[in-house]
Symmetry: C3
């Protein structure tokens, strides 16, 4: 591993905070840990360390993934699974909650419905804070596990043709992902209905970095031009106007017909949960990597927890 990279004490807040060396180091540590777990159920790397998970917004998947990562590293967890049972109900700020939990734990994972809240928590806490999603903002550990999965599925990261499909406006997952992927000279195809286009600011930012970006409403174009489709759910909970949600929710569907029409192998990722945008029949397709992607999340989060606590 590179001696230059040191994430000890660092917060993990935003997809664009990482240098390429740091991404490489994180993926390498994840891969090492994955190998170490092949013959063992858990390691002792974080024995005695305590993780606090603060979920102000529900997420079984992400919370359990982090908690599993901590358990597999031999550490312990204290957990707030929903804001209902929290001091937030008494009017406490995120900063105060973070500064409080800072007194209990060695590392904090936070999810909160408001953009910028993870940064507020990180500023208030002395221990490392990992952003597990701040509203329509960022979700950087998801981006890293996506990259780790792409590398494992395709064998490389450089010069890929990648389609991102669905709700590109509200999807924090894809916002963080394109930031990190942009380190690897990708060609992006953004596939969305007009009302859910990738924010102009992000597209401009990518083009300023020299990244090739095009946009379409046509999913077929993605399957013929790309190595990988990153599918997303149209997130009902992000819409204020339900009639607009109804209009776009079934816009893109990957089903058996779609798979039969492919002329070459396509890797399909999805941050999950899915609703109707990928049929269950597709799950057995060799390129359908979304459940492997879930497992990879544990290894990447193990890597991040170990590294910010100075153990790798």
């Amino acid at each position: 591993m590179s001696g230059k990279v040191d994430l000890k004490g660092k917060d993990i807040l935003h997809g664009n905070q990482f240098s390429k060396e740091e991404v490489v180091a994180i993926l390498n540590v994840a891969s090492e840990l994955e190998n170490e777990l092949k013959n063992r159920n858990s390691l002792d790397i974080l024995k005695g360390k305590l993780l606090a998970t603060l979920f102000f917004e529900p997420s079984t998947r992400t919370r359990l993934s982090f908690e599993a990562a901590m358990a597999r590293l031999g550490g312990s967890v204290i957990s707030m699974a929903s804001a209902e049972s929290s001091s937030a109900a008494k009017g406490e700020t995120v900063a105060d909650t973070a500064r409080t939990v800072d007194q209990y734990a060695d590392v904090i994972v936070i999810r909160h419905p408001r953009i910028g809240s993870a940064k507020e928590a990180a500023d208030a806490a002395t221990v490392p804070v990992l952003n597990a999603g701040d509203g329509a903002g960022q979700h950087p550990t998801q981006a890293l596990l996506d990259i780790y999965t792409i590398q494992k599925e395709i064998g490389r990261l450089d010069n890929l043709n990648i389609a991102l499909v669905g709700d590109l406006k509200n999807g924090r997952t894809v916002h963080a992902l394109v930031e990190v992927l942009s380190l690897y000279k990708p060609k992006f195809l953004f596939v969305s209905p007009a009302v859910l286009r990738m924010p102009e600011e992000i597209i401009l930012n990518l083009r300023n970095k020299g990244i090739d970006v095009s946009e379409t409403e046509d999913l077929k174009k993605a399957s013929s031009e790309c190595d990988l489709i990153y599918m997303t759910r149209i997130q009902k909970e992000r819409f204020s106007d339900m009639s607009e949600y109804e209009r776009v929710k079934g816009f893109y569907v990957i089903n058996d017909d779609f798979i039969r029409g492919l002329t070459k192998k396509l890797v399909i990722l999805h941050p999950l949960p899915r609703v109707d945008e990928i049929s269950t029949g597709v799950d057995s397709y060799a390129g359908a990597a979304y459940f492997r992607q879930v497992r990879n999340g544990v290894f990447v989060r193990m890597a991040l927890l170990s590294m910010v606590l100075g153990k790798r």
Copy 2:
């Protein structure tokens, strides 16, 4: 222990899945573990292993019992205590949730309000799945802890006269229990109001096995004829018509008067929680075994977790 019984990798879904040899083996392992815990607070049998508890329906008792069992075995737990904080709120299927958590944990315990959901989870997951109650369906670990308690309280399982009392229509506990008990040539007396009778299908199934089954509305008959009364709560949450609930809720009550009227010792079990159907004054009666039954649940669940993970 019998060399023939091997539950490694098996799901625990239904009261009728067990052979008599398997029931005997489970009770034996539970008894061994109970003895091993007499001088120690916990064991190392599942050190490094990770249990995920997925409770889509509230249950403090059952969830904490499984989590205590895992802790006493030296293992770790990740937990979803209610569906509010889950991906189910985003429209995810039980199968997808199970397949996701399958990537995190070594064993899954699930409770869900819909019949058949535990089976769906088990079909989707590669790790063992234990059904902790699927709606008005099954609750097999409760049945096994009931049997373990009967054996400890009465000293045998064969040829007992057993009364089941209360809501026999909706009570998943009693449905699983009669399945398992039918391995031991019992004589059953089903005591319920007409609207809450044991389903005809279950009664026919028992009679086809040669089991002696009779029905009554009269609790007194149970106390004079039986060795054991298995009392149940009339479950308000299973009624759609509240006026019907009001009509039957106080139908059967075991109180001090009832106990004073007994002519021989009677073992009284109850899956708990109780509301009014057993008065607290009865708790000190020697045959009142329902809190010992709770403790036995930990040993039986320890046995099942150990066995499906191949450690006993």
Copy 3:
């Protein structure tokens, strides 16, 4: 440590249950444990032991503090974070829940909205029960961590001039605190709006013990006369009449102006969460000890858990 003090098997229910020797012993053990944690992340004192936290009323802070304490002692935790996911929803009494959880765990921490509920749980359980707040009643572990903090911040406990400010009527924290502090010959100044005065019964009880008590509505008086201000939140959730809450909620505020007006160092404590009664600008004031107070809570709860389980 004093050989006379033995809390093994004891319940921790009320601020007035402790002798001075016991308070001294608890503070000493807390201090020892704090020192032992200086070079280590956790200890092995309660390895194999199991804590159950039962929170019928939301409290991130207190629950996570106890669970962190247990983790730092090497023990395990099973947790009910809110009443929604509990048997209480099915009509179970606190006594029955406690007697059930008694079968699972080695020690129980309970918070419940009703006065006296912790005592009911303790009477029903055979294992030690710690009251983490019973409605407007008591919150004794908070009182002990407050005392521990006062001793660390001021260097002594005897003969202090202490102001308690805010909602002294409903604040269980201050009710327990004055009980314990009264062992140390304090001079109390109670600062509150008329509708939120300290209950007459508590004042009489203190005066009967020979404690000097005075009352005022004027916060300025506190800053000139006292060594320490114990600030509290006006608890919205305790008011039935919201117009009355609106009238008193901003009554006392410690802000930068207040700090600039001080003529000597003042120690400021607060049980947290705060809303507006202390501005964030005050956090950097040397006497602002409320986040150190949070950390002290972990050490004091570690001491109590160790002692009631007979390990110190």
